[in-house]
């Protein structure tokens, strides 16, 4: 009956209607967009910092593990609860508290969708730079947790480059502010420590972000190539030229075909690669840059290239890319996104190796990636109901990350480690590195209750030996 006592106590804090504990209600809080699943003991909908603090204090006292959840769209098991854990759902904590144009800052609660903030800023001529493809549903809290990136991060950086301050409920239940409004706060960069910690160091209850003036002009181009290599070479050439586009995105043939089938974006289905290039900034000199890019495309044997004439055409060029993940998902019921990153110059080698892995394990793998910063997203397609195929998927996923690590890259560009890439941590970190991270975690969360089992492998030796 300890269970009922806990639920009753949670109900006292947030009200009966904000606590769920029936099996039927818990069944939908055991998954995220990744593959792993679990089963929580209760789900609590919170609406204020005080509620979060009280809930956390209660759980701390009782030694019950818990995690913060936004929209549950992370791809790595970050919000899969440990059995018997409590899910603290922030979706109803979704107010935009302040938009301060003069100081170029916005203060939001964690449950605000990234796109909701963008839509609130747009009429003022401002925007928030990180733009994950999941922006219409992913929350600002989740973006902070995963240090999310997006197509425009090549030029502007990821979430951590845009978070100025955080109100955080620590694992003890205490409420603190990290960073703040001043351009640089004294002491170490604690905001940096928290962003990307996947909710293992506490729960963000207010997020202060930098907002930027919308660019004076945007030019979007789409180029079609006969081979991935020539598309990749074009990317290298553009950057070697000293031009930093906001976006450089590539899709391979499998993705092109899938996109064409679902979005009808007008891509030729026999092309091997589609490259999307977007320039933004001051209008002055942009046409010259665009012309130069067109020349570089020509030099690399582009099949055809288009420049969007207006916002509608721009949206059309993007439609295919925005729909890419999902379109590929149509081919088979499940997919695994391997979010490895390699130095840009290693992209061709990495892509060739990925193709080899696909052949070896007899799996369909599509590629859609942020070419500018070497962030691959091989999508392995399968049916999760087939155990044999599942086993091959896991092996292939791990092998791809290993390849990335060996090419001098890393195992997560933006989707996090969660539970799904624990083993692979050893590909990029040494024992001492991981021990250091553990020490930080232990200092803040001595009872290991705050999203336990994520990011840091518990069985370090096994991971290192693998």
């Amino acid at each position: 009956m300890a269970r009922d006592a806990l639920v009753a106590e949670l109900e006292r804090i947030v009200g009966r209607e904000n606590v769920r504990s029936k099996p039927v209600d818990l069944a939908v809080y055991g998954y995220d967009a990744g593959l792993a699943t679990g089963r929580p003991r209760a789900v609590v909908f919170v609406q204020t910092t005080e509620q979060v603090a009280q809930v956390v204090k209660t759980l701390y006292k009782k030694g019950v593990p818990y995690l913060a959840r936004g929209a549950g769209t992370n791809l790595s098991g970050g919000t899969v609860p440990p059995d018997g854990g409590v899910v603290i759902e922030t979706a109803r904590m979704n107010r935009i508290l302040e938009i301060d144009l003069e100081n170029q800052q916005a203060l939001v609660e964690p449950g605000v969708f990234n796109l909701t903030l963008q839509n609130a800023l747009a009429p003022h001529g401002y925007y928030y730079a990180p733009d994950p493809a999941s922006q219409k549903v992913s929350t600002m809290g989740g973006n902070v947790g995963e240090n999310s990136g997006g197509p425009h991060c090549l030029k502007y950086g990821v979430t951590s480059n845009h978070v100025l301050g955080l109100e955080v409920v620590l694992p003890s239940g205490e409420v603190v502010w990290l960073g703040g409004r001043a351009p640089d706060t004294p002491g170490p960069d604690l905001v940096g420590l928290f962003v990307g910690a996947e909710g293992t160091l506490g729960i963000a209850t207010k997020i202060l972000v930098r907002i930027m003036r919308a660019p004076e002009r945007v030019v979007t181009m789409l180029a079609i190539f006969e081979s991935l290599e020539s598309a990749g070479q074009t990317v290298s050439d553009i950057i070697a030229e000293g031009i930093i586009p906001a976006t450089l995105e590539i899709m391979d043939n499998l993705v092109i075909r899938a996109v064409e089938e679902s979005v009808h974006a007008g891509y030729p289905t026999d092309a091997d690669a589609v490259l999307i290039i977007e320039l933004d900034g001051l209008a002055d000199g942009m046409d010259e840059q665009a012309d130069r890019i067109m020349e570089l495309c020509e030099k690399n044997g582009v099949v055809s290239a288009r420049k969007a004439k207006d916002a509608t055409e721009r949206a059309e060029l993007w439609a295919g890319r925005k729909g890419a993940f999902g379109a590929v998902a149509r081919l088979r019921p499940s997919y695994l996104v391997c979010d490895g990153t390699v130095p840009r110059t290693q992209l061709p080698a990495a892509l060739a190796a990925v193709r080899e892995v696909g052949r070896k394990y007899d799996l369909m793998i599509g590629n859609v990636f942020h070419a500018g910063d070497g962030n691959l997203h091989p999508l392995i397609l399968f049916d999760a109901r087939d155990p044999d195929e599942m086993a091959r998927v896991h092996k292939a996923g791990s092998e791809i990350l290993k390849i990335c690590a060996e090419l001098g890259g890393t195992i997560s560009g933006e989707h996090g480690i969660g539970t799904e890439k624990l083993k692979e941590m050893a590909f990029v970190f040494r024992r001492a590195d991981i021990e250091f991270m553990r020490a930080i975690k232990a200092a803040l969360d001595p009872k290991n209750l705050c999203n336990p089992g994520k990011v840091l492998p518990e069985e370090l030796d096994a991971a290192l030996a693998a």
């Binding site: 099996p23 039927v24 999941s134 549903v137 999902g326 149509r330 019921p333």
Partner: protein, 419 residues
């Protein structure tokens, strides 16, 4: 759809849990509760199929708090048919947990018998017999009557004294040399809004059609949406018999829900090839009101009728179930003196959704308020649509929000323009 939940296993397995449906579900938008979004619905049905959970009373809220509006489906990359999976879940619920006696009575006794249904409607409207008013309250679709039902009072402004079928006996039905059109009479227009049905018939006749009023019963959608597939099939069979009696090139209905469901009859009989073929033959001839006019041309307008800004609300059953989006707009634009303006989020569900607005009043009102806000932005004097459920809900919304807007069926506007 058949009697075995496992039939939708492939369909629920297509959901890859991306969670993108959270941005489109009108119910999740209010509750932020994973139980209410397509991903949650699919997970629930899946857990029932895989035996992880047993169906029980606890499933009632999660399964029945869905508008079946298909906004999730329209925006889902693998296009998972969540609305179908939800109905399959409801069917399992009805089979294994049961359904209230009132619902059974409605689906199995009242809807198949228009005469009895009519009697019942009159009694419920008068509101004397408490047994029947209680029944009326339990029966979502009877929201139309409102009387004695405090919360939904106002959903019906004025109940007609004569149903459409009674009026039809004295109407002119033969327009001359045009096509023969079988007019399928929806319950909403027969019992509650007969003026609309009359307008439709008048427009058809003016356009030269020979109208045959079909001796149909309820299309079966309310039973289907509730998960009572057996009742839905029985109603569909009656209608197929009735429709086969009429020798007509076109089967027309001005009710967006009826046309959607008639076109889905083949799916209802998936398991019996012979009936499915029969259903397919009929389904291919079904047309909604604007769908028909857009193809066949409006009778020539005389320039009477409303002059000014008109906007349009897409019933879920026309837009997402049938892809009928351009036709009503085309018809409205063609009316003299009409300045057509597009409403923001025109295709967002108005919250009527069958019985939803009675069973889940508060949420339905939040959905409706957003619609009214969008309507206000258009500054239109007339809001047109093509479904009785939407008409009643939107009229209620306009009154609640004190907006100076008339809510009308497209056919009423066409009739006025042509008279």
């Amino acid at each position: 759809m058949g009697e075995d939940l496992r039939q939708v296993y492939d369909e629920v397995a297509k959901c890859n849990r991306c969670g993108f449906c959270q941005a489109h579900c009108p119910i999740f938008d209010i509750t932020k509760d994973e139980r209410n979004v397509a991903r949650g619905h699919n997970a629930h049905v899946r857990s029932l199929i895989e035996g992880e959970l047993e169906i029980s009373e606890d499933f009632k809220d999660p399964l029945f708090e869905c508008l079946l509006c298909k906004a999730c489906v329209a925006n889902c990359f693998p296009a998972v048919r969540t609305e179908r999976n939800v109905v399959a879940g409801r069917a399992e619920y009805v089979r294994r947990v049961g359904q209230p006696r009132t619902m059974r009575f409605l689906f199995h006794r009242l809807l198949p018998d228009p005469v009895r249904m009519g009697r019942f409607v009159r009694l419920a409207a008068v509101g004397k017999n408490t047994g029947i008013t209680r029944l009326a309250r339990a029966l979502g679709i009877l929201k139309w009557f409102g009387k004695d039902f405090d919360r939904v009072e106002g959903l019906v402004e004025r109940l007609p004294t004569r149903f459409f079928r009674e009026r039809a006996r004295t109407l002119r039905l033969d327009g001359g040399a045009g096509r023969t059109v079988a007019y399928f009479v929806g319950c909403g227009f027969n019992f509650v809004l007969p003026d609309v049905a009359e307008a439709t018939v008048e427009v058809l006749v003016k356009g030269g059609a020979r109208v045959r009023v079909v001796d149909n019963v309820c299309c079966g959608l309310p039973a289907y949406g509730y998960g009572d597939l057996e009742a839905a099939r029985a109603l569909a069979r009656k209608n197929m018999d009735a429709l086969e009696q009429v020798d007509a090139e076109v089967i027309l209905t001005d009710c967006g829900s009826c046309s959607a469901f008639l076109k889905e009859y083949p799916e209802l009989f998936e398991e019996s090839p012979e009936e499915r073929d029969r259903a397919s033959r009929l389904a291919s001839r079904v047309k909604g009101f604007s769908e028909y006019l857009a193809e066949d041309g409006c009778p020539s307008p005389r320039g009477h009728g409303f002059r000014g800004k008109v906007t349009y609300h897409d019933p879920c059953h026309l837009s997402r179930y049938q892809g009928v989006v351009g036709q009503p707009r085309q018809v409205l634009r063609g009316l003299p003196g009409v300045e057509y303006v597009e409403m923001p989020e025109a295709d967002r569900c108005c919250g009527a959704a069958g019985s939803y607005n009675v069973l889940h009043y508060e949420q339905s009102m939040v959905v409706l308020d957003r619609k009214m806000e969008n309507l206000r932005k258009t500054e239109a004097g007339v809001l047109a649509t093509e479904c009785p459920g939407c008409l009643i809900q939107l009229r209620y919304g306009v009154r609640r929000a004190s907006l100076p807007v008339r809510v009308a069926h497209v056919s009423e506007l066409v009739r006025e323009a042509c008279s």
